[in-house]
Subunit: 322 residues, 2 copies
């Protein structure tokens, strides 16, 4: 029975367990590009993001809309560089004068939102957006609008307002209407790359609830009841749509701040309105990703767990103690 | 507008983002020690675990029961070494002949369960338990029983059966009753350290539901309805208790396999039985930790998310892509 303490060096076993710092900040960036058909161009953009050191979480291209979305994450310093390189690559390879597709857009790199994930606040992301926007103008010569939490003017908070008229309309209007000028550069847009809308926002959860009816009017009435713009829940956008392939009406929601209106509250509101309409709820869909905190909130609230906190989750505790 | 690709080395920014392998196996170990009053002794045990390279997730000492529980996690190779060092430290410092306390126990290091967390199966943990058990006997001279998934005989699956008679009774009985002999070593127990029960089991969630009544009989009736042993839900143990300080009756549950009976199913069952009794459910309590998967299951099931999988959770996706 030896009692001599062994040191860390002589731990046997095939695996070594490295204690790693987990306190890095983490920012998400979800740039949209006006190219959804030429995979090689999006490959090059993704490669630019990767070589900057960011992690690509998701990537989708829509040939009809001729548009791609890349979702990536990295610490604050890296995310800025990766976003800039992605925009540079898009500006070099996408010509909006040759672009067609149904989705509103004003730029080759159309929208670049920064989203706080860990250890950063929305204001930090707004500052990050501002720096990246300035650099895009200074180094690439493409004008930039700042939107949402990074907006400098109320008329630029809303993305739809900035994009009104699309590339083709905006490049004319901007020359005569000072209210529509970019925040960096301009007034003239870049001839082939248009302008980039850069900003900061909270994580957005795309969450749809499927109803046991094909009557889209019911979904529309429910959407009007639950969405903020018509007197419903804060941070909830909603519309009623028909899922033609399944012949189901759907309440399609964007939850723009799940800490203000948790996912279960939005879900319950739709269920309650559906019940009033005499219609059942079949299922729900998550489009894209959901932060673990949003799911933890749902579970803890539903189970009525007293004094729930994230440290009660094994994996979170493990992260903290590393 | 430079187009030359930068390499990873020249990424600016205050933070560097290191791509790290996240595929390590992860095993939890929750050893129980027969010492809950002398903090220095438990400190030394915790230190032995830490210096082996494991991460301590939780630690509780109960002076009434004179018993401590340390929860730690590490990859397979490291967890074995950490468990062995913890037992060695306990054997060297705890004398059962001087021990008093209400909780059943037969060893200084009383029970050592290994629990699969990531990349290992229950069978792997059973083999790990066997190796650790053999080493405890060979190097420390303390006999070992293998229990639950590591048990070699049906009469040793259940911890309570192994501990029957406690240290004081078992050390006599083991000399005359071959059925009660240890799996490694013995038949005589170690004079001061008794024996160690080593095994493997699934993660256990301790989950209590508080009722809007002080009538403990109602909680007991509900417990009988929901627990497996009296015809209820698989992998659910339950009893009714009175929370004297709050004057609330509580259904106290151990969920021994949350994949077989998810937490929401157990919760719903208690709620339904409570409703039949005409009693409301006030809240629930989580004792110790819960794996994120258990919470994800609750949220996804409650929200009726179609084709939910863990990759839809942002942080999980990030882990996968690192």
């Amino acid at each position: 029975m030896k009692k001599a303490k062994r040191t860390e060096q002589d731990v046997p076993g095939e695996h070594r367990f490295t204690i790693r710092p987990m306190r890095e900040t983490l920012v998400e960036c979800v740039p949209n590009f006006s190219e959804g058909r030429d995979t090689a161009k999006i490959d090059a953009i993704a490669e630019a993001i990767r070589t900057a050191g960011a992690i690509i979480l998701d990537r989708t291209s829509d040939p009809d809309h001729n548009r791609s979305v890349v979702t990536f994450a990295a610490p604050a310093g890296v995310v800025e560089e990766a976003a800039f390189r992605a925009v540079r690559q898009a500006v070099a390879s996408i010509d909006l004068r040759l672009h067609s597709g149904g989705h509103p857009r004003i730029g080759a790199a159309d929208v670049v939102p920064f989203i706080p994930l860990r250890g950063v606040r929305l204001e930090d992301c707004a500052r990050l957006a501002e720096r990246t926007g300035r650099r895009i103008w200074e180094e690439l010569g493409v004008p930039v609008y700042l939107y949402e939490a990074a907006a400098r003017r109320p008329e630029c908070r809303n993305l739809a307002d900035i994009r009104r008229g699309n590339f083709e309309g905006l490049r004319e209007e901007v020359l005569t209407n000072p209210a529509r000028r970019p925040d960096f550069g301009g007034p003239a847009l870049h001839s082939s790359a248009g302008a980039v809308v850069v900003g900061a926002r909270q994580f957005l959860i795309a969450f749809n609830v499927n109803l046991a009816t094909s009557d889209v009017e019911i979904a529309r009435r429910i959407a009007r009841k639950v969405r903020f713009s018509s007197g419903g829940l804060p941070a909830v956008k909603a519309m009623g749509v028909l899922l033609a392939s399944r012949n189901l009406a759907q309440v399609s929601m964007n939850l723009t701040d799940f800490e203000r209106t948790p996912v279960d509250v939005a879900f319950e509101a739709v269920c309650a309105e559906a019940a009033r309409e005499g219609v059942g709820v079949v299922s729900s869909e998550l489009i894209g990703l959901i932060p673990k905190k949003a799911l933890e909130m749902v579970a803890a609230r539903y189970l009525k767990i007293e004094d729930f906190n994230a440290s009660m989750v094994l994996e979170n505790r493990l992260e903290e103690r590393r």
